[in-house]
């Protein structure tokens, strides 16, 4: 599966290599290393946000309180949906590594859709909280809840944009097996966002 770019660059036929790297000092490609570094930075971002939420637990001087508004079963389902999207993401990566572009697109789309249903669920949750009288202005709980989960939601949304772009590239035939690393890098981000959600779900919703 030699792209035009490659055949231009090299006279010899290119042997397909599922994991294809530049000779870098670490063995990781620059792009992947950059993603790891970026995710390291993101850990501190979410760490600070989660700590803020945690420090402010129970300090609100007025309601509603978490107990008033949380619908744990509902959020558990949407958390499960997001978790499942990590699975489909893995399947997407496996597909492109096999060179199975049809399945790649299916799984990319599935991942994006699962992510989108999570976001839809979050939007619904936000609106129902607001209906119950909890906004960012109401109390400390409102401020820290909306900012923390909102930040996570924005991350998921960016991930969806990323996935749809990959899907689109694949449709146009430019996302090929030898560039599977692009999917892998997007996957790193996606899994990271999922893991962060597990922490948020535990800290924000489950810990009493």
């Amino acid at each position: 599966m030699a792209t035009k770019e490659k055949s231009l660059a090299h006279e010899e036929p290119v042997t397909p290599a599922p994991e294809h790297h530049h000779a870098t000092n670490t063995g990781l490609s620059n792009e992947k290393l950059a993603m790891w570094a970026f995710l390291g930075s993101e850990c501190l971002l979410f760490g600070a946000l989660i700590s803020t939420y945690f420090l402010y637990r129970g300090r609100s001087v007025s309601g509603p309180t978490p107990e008033d508004v949380y619908d744990i079963p509902y959020t558990s389902v949407s958390s499960f949906v997001l978790l499942m999207s990590s699975l489909t993401m893995v399947l997407a990566l496996a597909a492109i590594q096999r060179g199975d572009y049809r399945r790649l697109r299916i799984w990319l789309l599935a991942t994006a859709l699962l992510g989108a249903s999570f976001i839809a669920g979050q939007v619904y949750e936000f609106t129902s909280f607001i209906r119950e009288g909890l906004t960012i202005k109401t109390n400390l709980f409102g401020s820290s809840f909306f900012v923390l989960t909102g930040f996570h939601g924005v991350h998921v949304t960016l991930g969806i944009v990323m996935l749809l772009s990959l899907w689109n590239l694949s449709l146009r035939g430019s996302l090929t097996q030898d560039r599977s690393e692009v999917v892998e890098i997007a996957g790193l981000y996606w899994h990271f966002v999922d893991v962060v959600w597990i922490v948020i779900f535990t800290v924000v919703y489950l810990v009493k």
Partner: protein
């Protein structure tokens, strides 16, 4: 906002192959203004950083002079309370974010790739984006002076003084969003430098053969990477309070202003090391060269740097000893603060040992470097007295602290940076700075500095608090304040000498040879100034201080003996003209990344969004401007991702495009031979994806996958 704008998107999405020709051809001008605006060359970006930061330095310096004029006498009338508060806020913010950090970034950009034997950084366009974001962030911050008043909450912006109740104007908004933009700029460049250093060192350059300045760059970059998101969060919380009525720092709703202090100083203390480590690196380069001796205890210097980097995260509460956090927290942080002095002290003694029994040539860079040791020591010692936290209750928020951190950041960081400027000037501009003017520069700088900040120790202990726009004569503080003001103007004179020296060197054009100082590291092995491709042939490294070892061997007594026929470098030895002649020749066929408009376009979206946020607070419609800014940013990123590389058909063996067909990646490891031979990107090895984690820094990463000259 960081999250929205962070870098991975473009790179991950940068997947369109070449045939998808982008919106327009990439710019190609080699000269002129446009070539600078569109440049992605790390050297040019380094110069841009340096020049911009120097201009901000002049601004911050003028602010300092205003402050000193106001305080020269009791009950001064030069500035009112409001102006004074704005000026000291901007002075601090400028010097930290717009001067010392970008000056260090200038050296990271210019020198680090040369030191590690690379042709550029890992993501050249992202690098340009960082610069433009920094520039726009700085201009945005300064535009507040014209738009109704600069921020006046101090560079530390303590809540709740920064809330809308107590600061209803837009000044604080400018500060918040200005810092957000600058945070994006530094985070992006930190990622870029980290990847460059971990991945693109020349073959044979293990981490423990990496020049010490590059090491400090690496540690600094990690600190930036992890510290910036914390202040990003703090600023977001504050802006949600201000823009959307959240309660994070509203005591009436149960919010705790002390949370701001924790977040700010968890960022703020590593920030101090972000400011000082690069200067330590520069000094560690200068001292050995002008002592004709290797750096004493290189591994210890590296590990003490790492130790400082780690311990720097565990001392932030020493900024808060007067907050009333209780004896346990205060004791713990007193101890950690004291013991961070240990690795710092090790560095000081190692520097002295480097000069010990050396052959010291007291050139201007060497004078600044030795001045650094002397002055930074004073800052370190007063730092230890802060760690004695009961007495810190007397010191904190007084001029004693002002004296302390100026001895660290001026006596330390700026002395180091001046050493770096005088040391690397010939390399960067190909001309020599005048030594006599340089010495005048140093001595006026040194005397002025001590006159300006030495007395502040006394003033603080005599009970002069910080951040006061006026003081009464009954406090008995007038004499030393006047001395301090005289010192400040002496420094100003010194800066004028420095500028005159630069102007003169451009007039006279005393050509600099490739290696004017008989230096030790790879950047001196290539011509001055370096060709745009840096190394005609990627060097293979066999030792720490590689370039020195090409010039010298050691006799039995351990003394250096000049190698008869030095394998020198590409720079020739002392004949700069000669270099000029074969530039074009040599460089032919080396394909460097093409210039691009889009980093500038994308970065321009940031201040637009920021203006929208600032004015959105007073009129909701302004949030439309935020959307506009986001569209500019995204359009810029999109065009960036789709941008074709110039002349795709003209492939060559020196440079390899990334799989993405996009961000051009230079293969640092493995010379041309390996590439020609391997045909395809020496694709063979590629360590397994290995689940990710970055490599163990102690492991000589370079050894592994680097094809050791497997040429024909």
């Amino acid at each position: 906002m960081t999250t929205v704008l962070e870098p991975p998107t473009p790179d991950v999405l940068a997947t369109t192959p070449v045939e998808d020709a982008g919106l327009m051809r990439r710019p190609t001008e080699p000269q002129g203004v446009w070539s600078w605006i569109t440049t992605v060359d790390h050297k040019r970006i380094g110069i841009l950083y340096g020049v911009t930061a120097f201009i901000f330095f002049l601004a911050g310096g003028i602010e300092a002079l205003l402050l000193r004029l106001q305080l020269a006498k009791p009950n001064g009338t030069v500035l009112g309370a409001e102006a004074y508060n704005e000026v000291f806020t901007m002075h601090g913010t400028t010097m930290v974010f717009l001067v010392v950090m970008p000056l260090s970034a200038a050296f990271f950009n210019y020198m680090m790739p040369l030191q590690i034997g690379a042709r550029d950084v890992a993501f050249p366009r992202l690098n340009a984006f960082s610069y433009w974001a920094f520039l726009f962030g700085g201009l945005f911050l300064y535009s507040s002076f014209l738009l109704g008043g600069a921020p006046d909450g101090g560079w530390f912006g303590y809540a709740p003084n920064t809330s809308i109740v107590f600061s209803p104007g837009h000044g604080i908004d400018f500060w918040v969003y200005g810092l957000q933009i600058l945070g994006i700029a530094s985070t992006v460049s930190a990622v870029n430098f980290i990847v460059t250093m971990l991945n693109m060192r020349a073959p044979g350059m293990t981490l423990m053969r990496m020049p010490i300045f590059s090491w400090m760059t690496l540690i600094s970059s990690f600190l930036i990477l992890f510290a910036m998101p914390v202040i990003t969060v703090a600023l977001f919380l504050l802006s949600f309070d201000r823009n959307f009525g959240a309660n994070f720092f509203n005591p009436a709703a149960g919010g705790d202003p002390v949370l701001w202090q924790h977040l700010f100083w968890i960022f703020g203390h590593p920030e101090v090391y972000i400011l000082i480590l690069p200067a330590m690196g520069m000094v560690s380069e200068v001292l050995p060269v002008f002592s004709r001796k290797p750096l004493f205890g290189y591994p210890v210097m590296v590990f003490s740097g790492i130790a400082i980097g780690f311990m720097g995260w565990g001392v932030w509460v020493h900024h808060m000893f007067a907050v009333g956090l209780g004896p346990v927290a205060v004791s713990a942080f007193s101890l950690s603060t004291m013991f961070i002095a240990v690795p710092t002290g090790v560095k000081i003694f190692n520097w002295i040992a480097t000069t010990w029994k050396g052959s010291l040539k007291l050139t201007t860079p060497m004078l600044f470097a030795m001045g650094f040791i002397a002055m930074f020591t004073i800052g370190g010692l007063s730092g230890v007295t802060h760690a004695v936290s009961p007495h810190d209750r007397q010191q904190t928020d007084t001029y004693y602290v002002v004296a302390h951190f100026h001895y660290v950041l001026f006596g330390g960081a700026l002395f180091g940076i001046m050493a770096g400027i005088y040391y690397w000037w010939p390399k960067v501009f190909g001309t020599m700075l005048d030594e006599r003017l340089g010495k005048l520069n140093f001595w006026t700088w040194f005397v002025g500095f001590n006159l300006a900040f030495g007395p502040m120790h006394l003033l603080g202990l005599q009970g002069m608090p910080r951040r006061i726009y006026t003081y009464d004569e009954s406090l008995g503080l007038d004499f030393w304040n006047m001395v301090s003001t005289v010192g400040a103007f002496t420094i100003a004179f010194s800066v004028l000498v420095f500028m005159y020296n630069i102007w003169r060197s451009h007039k006279r054009k005393v050509k600099a040879p490739a290696d004017p100082w008989d230096a030790r590291t790879l950047e001196w092995s290539i011509p001055s100034p370096p060709p745009h491709y840096n190394f005609a042939e990627i060097p293979t490294v066999h030792a720490l201080d590689e370039f020195w070892h090409r010039k010298y061997t050691e006799d039995d007594d351990g003394r250096p003996v000049r190698v008869a026929d030095p394998q020198g470098g590409e720079g020739g030895d002392d004949d700069p003209d000669h270099d000029d002649e074969h530039h074009d020749d040599e460089g032919h066929g080396i394909h460097m990344p093409s210039p691009s408009y889009y980093p500038l376009v994308a970065a321009f979206g940031l201040p637009v969004m920021a203006y929208g946020m600032v004015y959105g607070r007073s009129s909701g419609q302004s949030y439309v401007v935020v959307v506009l800014g986001a569209v500019i940013l995204l359009a810029g990123l999109f065009a960036w991702a789709m941008e074709p590389s110039a002349e795709p058909e003209e492939h060559d063996h020196e440079m390899i495009e990334a799989h993405s067909g996009e961000e051009p990646v230079l293969v640092a490891a493995g010379g041309p031979a390996a590439l020609e031979d391997g045909g395809q990107e020496s694709g063979e090895k590629g360590g397994q994806p290995a689940g990710g984690a970055s490599e163990d820094p102690t492991d000589g990463g370079g050894g592994g996958p680097a094809p050791e000259g497997s040429g024909p």
